[in-house]
Each structure stands twice: as structure tokens, then as C-alpha cells.
């Protein structure tokens, strides 16, 4: 196992200050291109002879296909290809999302054959010379259906005699995590609270719809798409039944992903159309197609029972989680695992019994979405803490402080918390940011304040034995190249790696170019998901940079006449440690003299290495922690580490309409170390805003398999008007497992929000909302309930 933790003291000592580049907020080249409008996203490439692809999707949520007639579509002038299941070399995607630890093996067809299991399931493909002809042809594909009974929520899917979505049954996975004796501890508890909490289908709603262009080049099928995961090249090769070396996936900078581009989107369909037509093909999903047909956040049903002593010390928790997986497995097993692993939140629970199941339904598949199971569950454990505080008449903050985890404590899975838990400081900081509670704005209005704490993993589940690689090359002119298979969601994934390399090797940021997101040309880094890229690729780049520096240091030491351990790499030069920032003498040539004030440029160092046959290019693979989990005992290793944080909010409720206005919002997380503080802030603000949509406005409204919010006009992501600025507190404990002590921050800040708002509404009206989103209508019903 690779040792991680606080950075070696060397870096601080050598530079004479903590960090030069890390901790600053420089604008990277991709952001410059973005404000220029010059960045080319996946839909922005056009190739000679390019066709336009379109998917024909099922019109029913559960049906048998009795016939498909493509003759009219084929006959339309300008149509080049119409494909159905028979045209797919291997029409089966088997996603063993937890590495086969516990889930059913169920395959998903690329194109439906004789059965559709959700509304919007791909049935046929069309390629034509214009988008308009492709759209017309898609409408001309005639599919005959025989409607079948369906099942549309996780609870019904579990019932005896429920229609089977797949022959093998409706339970995709059921995880257990157990410690102590929860039943006995609940029976013995001074006080027990319980509750049921429900969440809804939510759409990622990245502004950039799913898109890409594919073509053949040197016999290799090449796709340039908006994706978080270039490693899907392997699956595409399997579908086409070609060697893996014959498929290349290039990830364009994404216009947002949030987990929705973690599964394949356009890839297999583009691949099939390119493969059959041998022409370049572009495919862009309509927004409405994306709303209906793309993966969603799992609706959860969460049932909690929590026991405590009369002084508020938690003694036991029973948790049952049911997730609606939709029609196919996708990443549901992992999502429900994360929910189970985080079900008790940032609290010590000595006796726990957690069950977390994913059920097949005839809804659109649920899969990855920022927060990944660990976010839905926050509403469960935080609601229980607020209920317990109310029952015991202990303040909400005090009750939490009595139960916060600390480093070295055991989690319900039996593993120890490996890094410090600064959740208490985040709670006090978030509340301080809010200031004094504001009074109601008028009659019929009541105000309330809420808090929500969370524990969110970063990095994949430990049993995946995760790894990431990076290649660095100091060029002859002293500039630096980085190659790393990371994909960039827009959060600055590539930019952060440049900052880390700049810190270690001293190359100015402007002299660094990074090549990312290409399955053929980059060392593999794994996808950008699970808040893993700073942790994984950040450590890979850090390791590669340190190794490259250590290889070149003796050469520099030789040139400068000082020991290799006493060098400083900064501002494009290498000099003896403590020599200050003064540039070298005329020409910068090493004079081999007596030290002080003398330095070599990185170009001179590269030349000297070349003379000595020492390579200035270096590939390094960083491996995360390894471990195992036993699904039968519910004990073992879960995630490498966690990020902790607290949000706090003031709300005002209109008691006549149920309208909730968020007056102030604050979010604070311990990020270990902020590599780029402005982007950390941006992640927290953006995550919180997505969380506010989840808490209050967003709902796909899937009713018997039919999407009600199928337009962007009625799927309500927050706009600039409706919510206040998000005030941010950043705590840097320096104790994460990411590079230089960083913790991941991509997903964590979306987790706290719904619980925070529910807490504030409860404070305002005296009743706890338990169903998301907390619409005015639902809040008004709670007010009515209190009145009667």
C-alpha cells in the first residue's frame, strides 16, 4: 500500500514557504478558451462527408416488440443507414458494477430486440446526410408493440407477484453492513426515533447535451465525445467484436457531466453507425431526448430507527434503503453500496444494521449522479439527528458534537477512520457565516434555521484496487508536457494537475501543456467520477513529478555544486535551496562557482540530462489503497477516505402558500488542502446550488414510467434569481489522502443541502419534511398537518 498523508516536509523546507503554485488560483488555458468561446466541445467538430445520427426510442415503458418496419425510413432520399438489433455484432452490455461482489448478472442490449423495458429505450438507429432527414427517417421507423404490465417504484418491485423486469427477478443487489447488535441496542435505548424519507428522480441537466463525432482512421474506430470515461473503448470494442486496439475514445472538455456522462451515452450508437457506414457521423441528443432517455439519480426510500441514551449518545441505528434502479443495472450496485457505507453519517454508531437494495423497475435507468447514493442518505441520518435533538431537548449542534466521529474510530463496516474528522469546525464556521437570524418579512411568514452535516467518500470503493498513471516530459526548451487519461468535466481537473506539477518541478504554469482524455495516447487514469481525479491522478502526477525531479536532481546538483537534497525547483529554474528568487547571472549559464545566487534554467537542466543520457520523460503509476469487503458478513473495507462538511441556511416560509424562500446559505467543508481555492469555492457553490434544486424544485415526475417533466421549461434547475449567494468556508486540515494532503470536493457539497433545508423548514413550521422535493404544496400540507 502506498503511503499517503501529509506532504513530506521536504517540499516546505526546500521552497522556504508552504507552496508557490498550489494554493493560488491561476486561470488555466481551458478557462481562457471558455471565456473566449473558443473551446470546441463534442458537438463542435465537423468532418468531410459527415452524417447525422439519430436514435429511435421506445414509446412505451414496458412492451414486447412484435415488429419493426424500416423500409419507409430506408427509402427516404438522404438516408444512408437504418440499423436495428440484428445489425449489432454483440448486442449485450454486461455491467458488473461492483466487480461481481453481490449483484445479479443482467445484460443490457445496445438496441432492443424483442422487449423494451423503459420509455426511451433505444430500438433503432438512423444516419442521414442532414439532421432534418435523419429526424424524418427516425419518425418513419415503424415499431409495433404489445404492451406488457410494468412496475414503477422500488417498493412495488419487491412485492410478491410483481411483474418481472428481468427473468432473474427484480432485486438487483442487496447489501448488508452490520456491526454489534442493533436490535438489542434499540430495545435497550433510552430513546428511539424513527422516520421514513423519500427522494425523487433527478436529471443531471448539464448544459451541454450528450454529443459526439465518430470516424474511421487507420482502421481504428475513433470517437470524440462528451464523456467522463474513455475506458468505455473496451466495451465498444466488445460490442463491435473488434480488438480493443481498434477503438479509440477521445474525451472533449465537457459542458458538464455530474455523473451523467459516466455511463456511455452516444458512444455505442455512434460506433455502430460509423462502423456500418464507414463515414464520419455526428450525434447530438435533443434536450428532450436527454431528459427522457438519459440516466437519472436514484429515488430512495430510506427507513431509519435510531437509539440513544438520555444524554444524546447514539447507541444504535437500523437503516433500510431501497433504490429505484430503473430498467437496467448500470451503476446501481455501486450507488447503493455507497449509500450503505455512509448510512450513519459522520457519527459514531456502535450497533448498526444497514440494508441497501436496488430494485429493477420499468423506469429509465438510474445511475451515477454527483453524490452517488451517499448524498440521498444525508436526509435520512440528519433528519434522525434533528428528531433526536427535539425529543431530548438538546440543541441540534450539541447533539451532533456528542456523536461526531474522530480519527481512529470504527465505522459500521469495521474499518478505522484514517484521517482527522473536522466536521465540528465546519459546523461552527457555517453557522458563523450566516450571522444573526433574519426576522420574518411580514405577517403570515415564519423563518427558520437549519444545519446539515455529512461524510462523503472520495475515491472508488477500495476493492476496485484503483490506479492512475501520468507521464511527464521536460522538453528541451524547459517547458513541460503532461499526459494523463483524465477527462475534464469543467471543474479544472486538468488545471489542478498542472498546478501540482508546477509546484514540484518549478515549471511556470504558462510553460506546461497537458494532454488529456485520449484512450490511445494517454496513460490510463480511470474515469472522472467518484471524486477520484484529484485524489488519483493528482497523486499520480505528484508521484511522477517527484520521481522525475529526483532523477534530474543529481544532474542539477552536479552543475551547481551542491548536494542533490539542497535544491529548489521554482520559476523555471533550479538553484540551491535558500538562494532566493534572484535570477542567475548573465545568460543564466551555470558557472559552477560557489553557490549563492547561481541557478540553471530547466532548459539547461534538460540539455545536461540529455548529455548524460538521462531521460527527462517519466511515466508513473500511482496505486490507491487495496482491501476487500465481504458482502456476507457486511464487514470490510469500503472507501479510501471521506470529506466532511456542514451547510447552514435561513429560510422563510409563507404559511398561506407553502412557498419556501432561502434567505441565506452557507457551506463549509474540510478540503484537506485547497490546490486552487477559487475552484474549490466554485465546486462548493455549484454543488450547493444543485442541491437546492434537488431539495426544492427538481423532479422528473415519472408517472407509470412516463416522464412528466420532459421539457427544459418544466424540469426546474435553479436559475440566477431564486436562491441567494452561497457563502463558502474552506477548512484546510492538511490531512487528506490526496496530493499534498487534499481531500476530494467534487461531490461532497451537494450532499448536505436537502437535509439543511429540511432542518430549516422544520425549525420554521415545526414539522419535518420527509419527501423531496419540498414543494410549496408539500410544505403547505405539513403546515395544515400541524394546524389540525
Amino acid at each position: 500500500m502506498t503511503t499517503v498523508g501529509p506532504p513530506p516536509a521536504g517540499e516546505r523546507q526546500l521552497t522556504g514557504q508552504p507552496y508557490r503554485v498550489v494554493g493560488q488560483s491561476p486561470a488555466h488555458h481551458d478557462f481562457v478558451d471558455k471565456v473566449k468561446g473558443a473551446l470546441l466541445y463534442a458537438a463542435d467538430w465537423r468532418l468531410p462527408g459527415m452524417l447525422h445520427g439519430r436514435i429511435v426510442r421506445s414509446q412505451l415503458p414496458s412492451a414486447r416488440i412484435t415488429g419493426i418496419d424500416v423500409s419507409a425510413a430506408r427509402a427516404l432520399p438522404g438516408v444512408v443507414a437504418v440499423l436495428t438489433a440484428a445489425d449489432v455484432p454483440s448486442n449485450s452490455i454486461v455491467e458488473m458494477a461492483s466487480g461481481g461482489l453481490a449483484e445479479l448478472e443482467v445484460s443490457m442490449p445496445v438496441l432492443a430486440t424483442d422487449r423494451v423495458r423503459y420509455l426511451g429505450e433505444p430500438v433503432a438507429l438512423v444516419a442521414a446526410v442532414t439532421q432534418q432527414i435523419a429526424a424524418e427517417a427516425a419518425e418513419l421507423v415503424s415499431v409495433d408493440y404489445e404492451e406488457l404490465p410494468g412496475v414503477f417504484d422500488a417498493e412495488s418491485a419487491r412485492a410478491d407477484g410483481a411483474p418481472r423486469v428481468h427473468e432473474v427477478g427484480n432485486t438487483l443487489v442487496s447489501w448488508q453492513i452490520r456491526c454489534g447488535d442493533a436490535a438489542a441496542a434499540l430495545a435497550a435505548a433510552d430513546v428511539v426515533v424513527e422516520g421514513e424519507y423519500r427522494s425523487q428522480h433527478v436529471e443531471h441537466a448539464y448544459l451541454e447535451p450528450e454529443a459526439g463525432v465518430g470516424w474511421m482512421e487507420n482502421g481504428v474506430l475513433t470517437l470524440r465525445v462528451s464523456t467522463q470515461v474513455i475506458e468505455h473503448a473496451v466495451t465498444i470494442a466488445r460490442i463491435l467484436q473488434v480488438p480493443q486496439s481498434k477503438v479509440r475514445v477521445i474525451a472533449a472538455y465537457m459542458g458538464g457531466g455530474f455523473g451523467g456522462k459516466e455511463d456511455m451515452t452516444v458512444e455505442p450508437y455512434l460506433a455502430l453507425l460509423v462502423w456500418h457506414t464507414r463515414r464520419p457521423v455526428r450525434m447530438i441528443w435533443d434536450r428532450q431526448e436527454s431528459l427522457t432517455g438519459s440516466t437519472k439519480r436514484h429515488p430512495f426510500i430510506m427507513r431509519y430507527r435510531t437509539g440513544a441514551t438520555s444524554d444524546g449518545t447514539l447507541t444504535a441505528q437500523q437503516v433500510e434503503i431501497l433504490g429505484d434502479a430503473g430498467a437496467y443495472p448500470n451503476l446501481s450496485p455501486r450507488v447503493l453500496f455507497a449509500a450503505a457505507a455512509c448510512a450513519c453519517g459522520p457519527y459514531r454508531v456502535p450497533n448498526a444494521s444497514i440494508t441497501s437494495s436496488a430494485m429493477f423497475t420499468n423506469n429509465v435507468p438510474s445511475s451515477a449522479f454527483r453524490g452517488f447514493g451517499a448524498m440521498q442518505i444525508v436526509l435520512g441520518y440528519e433528519s434522525q439527528m434533528d428528531e433526536l435533538a427535539a425529543r431530548l431537548r438538546i440543541s441540534r449542534t450539541e447533539l451532533r458534537e456528542r456523536n461526531f466521529l474522530a480519527k481512529g474510530d470504527l465505522l459500521p463496516s469495521g474499518e478505522r477512520v484514517g484521517t482527522c474528522v473536522e466536521v465540528g469546525p465546519t459546523m461552527h464556521r457555517a453557522l458563523a457565516l450566516l450571522g444573526e437570524p433574519p426576522p420574518p418579512s411580514g405577517p403570515g411568514k415564519v423563518t427558520g434555521r437549519g444545519i446539515g452535516c455529512n461524510r462523503h467518500p472520495y475515491g472508488r470503493a477500495i476493492w476496485f484496487r484503483d490506479k492512475a498513471a501520468a507521464w511527464l516530459s521536460l522538453q528541451a526548451d524547459g517547458t513541460l508536457l503532461i499526459r494523463c487519461g483524465v477527462t475534464d468535466l469543467g471543474a479544472g481537473q486538468a488545471a489542478s494537475l498542472c498546478q501540482i506539477a508546477a509546484e514540484v518541478l518549478g515549471a511556470p504554469l504558462d510553460d506546461i501543456s497537458i494532454y488529456i482524455g485520449d484512450s490511445a495516447l494517454n496513460p490510463p487514469a480511470g474515469g472522472t467520477f467518484a471524486t477520484r481525479q484529484l485524489y488519483m491522478s493528482g497523486n499520480a502526477v505528484l508521484q511522477a513529478a517527484r520521481e522525475l525531479r529526483d532523477r534530474m536532481a543529481p544532474v542539477a546538483a552536479d552543475l551547481l555544486g551542491v548536494p542533490p537534497g539542497e535544491l529548489e525547483f521554482a520559476a523555471g529554474r533550479v538553484r540551491p535551496a535558500g538562494a532566493g528568487d534572484a535570477p542567475a547571472g548573465a545568460g543564466g549559464a551555470p558557472d559552477g562557482g560557489d553557490g549563492g545566487g547561481v541557478s540553471v534554467t530547466l532548459a539547461e537542466l534538460a540539455a545536461a540530462c540529455e548529455q548524460r543520457s538521462i531521460s527527462t520523460a517519466h511515466l508513473s503509476t500511482w496505486r490507491g489503497e487495496a482491501g476487500s469487503f465481504d458482502p456476507r458478513t457486511g464487514q470490510g473495507d469500503t472507501f479510501p477516505d471521506y470529506t466532511y462538511g456542514t451547510h447552514a441556511a435561513d429560510v422563510e416560509v409563507d404559511t398561506e402558500t407553502g412557498q419556501v424562500r432561502v434567505l441565506r446559505y452557507a457551506a463549509c467543508h474540510d478540503v484537506g488542502r485547497a490546490i486552487n481555492p477559487m475552484r474549490v469555492e466554485g465546486q462548493i457553490q455549484g454543488g450547493a446550488m444543485q442541491g437546492l434544486g434537488y431539495a426544492l424544485t427538481e423532479d422528473m415526475g415519472i408517472d407509470d414510467g412516463y416522464v412528466q417533466a420532459g421539457l427544459f421549461a418544466n424540469y426546474l434547475i435553479p436559475n440566477a434569481q431564486d436562491f441567494p449567494d452561497v457563502l463558502v468556508g474552506i477548512i484546510e486540515s492538511g490531512e487528506g489522502k490526496g496530493p499534498l494532503g487534499a481531500r476530494g470536493i467534487g461531490e461532497p457539497p451537494i450532499g448536505n443541502v436537502a437535509a439543511t433545508i429540511a432542518s430549516a423548514i422544520q425549525d420554521a413550521i415545526g414539522v419535518r419534511p420527509a419527501q423531496l422535493p419540498m414543494t410549496p404544496e408539500r410544505v403547505l400540507a405539513l403546515i395544515d398537518m400541524r394546524a389540525t
Partner: protein, 295 residues
């Protein structure tokens, strides 16, 4: 996103547009601001063969004639929001348009197009009803005047004949001792109304009791709705001071007369509840404006 194929012609005048529309029959559609028609085309929900663009048919500005605010049908929402004559003579409309769409939609969308589209959640439609507006429609047989109260038939359906085009919207100019209020509930600013209420209250000469009131609602039926006089009884002659006044009774009566449908944003029951709350608020605010207590 790709619209079905169609032909396009720009009409230089309303007469030309009417002629083209009559020739085109079912397959022709008028394109004004395009902010409702174009999404339907992009979503392939409409399949016209010909679009008749009337944007160049008229370049008049709002004016006041004979006690009427005259809005040429092509008046953009932005003009409704900002134009001095609109703000002065129909502040209700200017306030309501604040809720319509976004900057881009308001830069293109037109008052005539909005009324002809007849969306049941229309802010502008509810204002037309509350103010007692009329539209002038031009057809092959010439012009006629249609009161707003007779214009809206059902979901996206008006009383206009197939080859008629709205050319003007006439709104009785605001009078002294008149107060207005526009109340809207949305799930997200700029979205379609869950419920909206437009109210006008006119005081008698002593300027304290109500002489006349009009209440129109959006988001509650298959069209925008004007509350009938039987629902408003008790308002005339009354004073709205808050508390247990006539506003609550009228609001409850109006709510009771409606049977709104459920949709993804709200149930019919909740909408009816909102009608009660927002109507009472609207009446009281309009009253307060009429008395000069509120700007």
C-alpha cells in the same frame, strides 16, 4: 433539435399576410415573435407547410387614443415592460410582463402573438381580461373587434377565424381611483404560472369604497378566466382593510367555482388553494393602490 421542412414568406403588410393565410389554409401559420411557435417546430409538434412572417408588416409604436391604450400587435414584451405609455396607462400589464419569459423571449415575443397563442397560463391574457381589453382582428372580409372576454376558447384555441390576424390590442386606459395588482406563484422565476391573478379595483367618488372590480386568473382552467359578476358580489361598496373583509369571501367563492387540473408542478387542489390566497392578496393590494396607500 430540428424543425420539419417548411416554406417561408415575409409579408409586407397585414393585408398581404391575410391573403397568404387564406390561400395557405390549414397548412399555413403566422410567425410573429416565434417564442411559442418555434419551440413547437423544434420539438416537431407542429408541421406547417408555410410560415408567414408578419414582423415587417407593421412598425407602429404604442399610443393612446380616445381613452384607449393602443398596442400594435407586434409590440414586443420588452416594450410592454419599459414603455412609458404602458407603465402610465396600464401598469398592471407592465407588472405582469415582468414575469414573462426571459430577456430573449421578451425581446422577440409580441402582445398579439401571445394573445393568439391563448396559453391558459398567460400573464398577458389574464391582464387582457382584467382590463376589459379588445383585439382588432383582420380577415379576408375586413376588420372586426373581439373583446378579450370572448377571445379565449380552450387550450391554445381562440375565437379567431383561421385566416384572421390580430393587428391591435386596445386596453382601456387606467383611470383615477383605480388600483391594480398582479399576483403570481411560480416554482421558478420566469416560468409558466402555477396560478396568476390580475385584479383591478375602482373606488367610488369618495375614494374609499369599491365601485367596481375585475379579477382574471391564469393557470386554473383550459384558458385564462375572468371571474363573473356573481362571484364578485359583496365587493361593491365595501372597504378592504384586511382581516375578515369581503376579499376573503370573494376569493373563496372564485376558488370554489374552479376545477383546475393537476400537472407536474401542482395539483388542482393546491391551485384552488392558491387562487383563494392570491385573489385575496390581489384585491387588497389593488384596493390599497386605489386609495393611494401603496405605490
Amino acid at each position: 433539435m430540428v424543425a420539419p421542412a417548411f416554406e417561408y414568406v415575409a409579408a409586407g403588410s397585414y393585408d398581404e399576410a391575410v391573403r397568404l393565410l387564406a390561400d395557405g389554409g390549414d397548412e399555413a401559420k403566422i410567425l410573429a415573435g416565434g417564442q411559442s411557435l418555434m419551440p413547437m417546430l423544434n420539438l416537431r409538434l407542429a408541421h406547417p407547410e408555410l410560415l408567414i412572417d408578419i414582423n415587417a408588416a407593421d412598425d407602429r409604436q404604442p399610443s393612446v387614443e380616445g381613452g384607449m391604450l393602443v398596442l400594435p400587435a407586434l409590440t414586443r414584451h420588452r416594450v410592454l415592460l419599459e414603455h412609458d405609455l404602458v407603465r402610465r396607462h396600464c401598469p398592471l400589464l407592465a407588472a405582469a410582463v415582468w414575469h414573462v419569459g426571459n430577456v430573449r423571449v421578451r425581446n422577440r415575443g409580441t402582445v398579439g402573438g401571445s394573445l393568439a397563442h391563448a396559453d391558459p397560463t398567460s400573464e398577458i391574457g389574464s391582464c387582457a381580461l382584467a382590463t376589459g381589453a379588445q383585439v382588432i382582428a383582420r380577415g379576408p372580409g375586413g376588420e372586426r373587434t373581439v373583446p378579450a372576454s370572448e377571445l379565449f376558447v380552450s387550450y391554445w384555441t381562440t375565437a379567431l377565424a383561421e385566416s384572421e390576424i390580430i393587428t391591435d390590442v386596445l386596453i382601456p386606459a387606467g383611470r383615477p381611483r383605480q388600483g391594480w395588482s398582479f399576483q403570481e406563484m411560480v416554482r421558478r422565476t420566469s416560468d409558466f404560472a402555477i396560478v396568476a391573478v390580475a385584479a383591478l379595483v375602482e373606488l367610488d367618488e369618495r375614494a374609499d369604497t369599491i365601485a367596481a372590480a375585475r379579477v382574471a386568473l391564469a393557470g386554473v382552467a383550459d384558458r385564462v378566466v375572468l371571474a363573473g359578476p356573481e362571484l364578485l358580489t359583496g365587493l361593491t361598496g365595501s372597504v378592504l382593510t384586511g382581516g375578515d373583509d369581503a376579499a376573503d369571501a370573494v376569493a373563496a367563492r372564485i376558488a370554489g367555482s374552479l376545477d383546475p387540473a393537476d400537472d407536474v408542478h401542482a395539483s388542482g387542489d393546491y391551485r384552488r388553494r392558491l387562487v383563494r390566497v392570491l385573489t385575496a392578496r390581489a384585491l387588497r393590494e389593488a384596493y390599497a393602490r386605489a386609495t393611494g396607500a401603496v405605490a
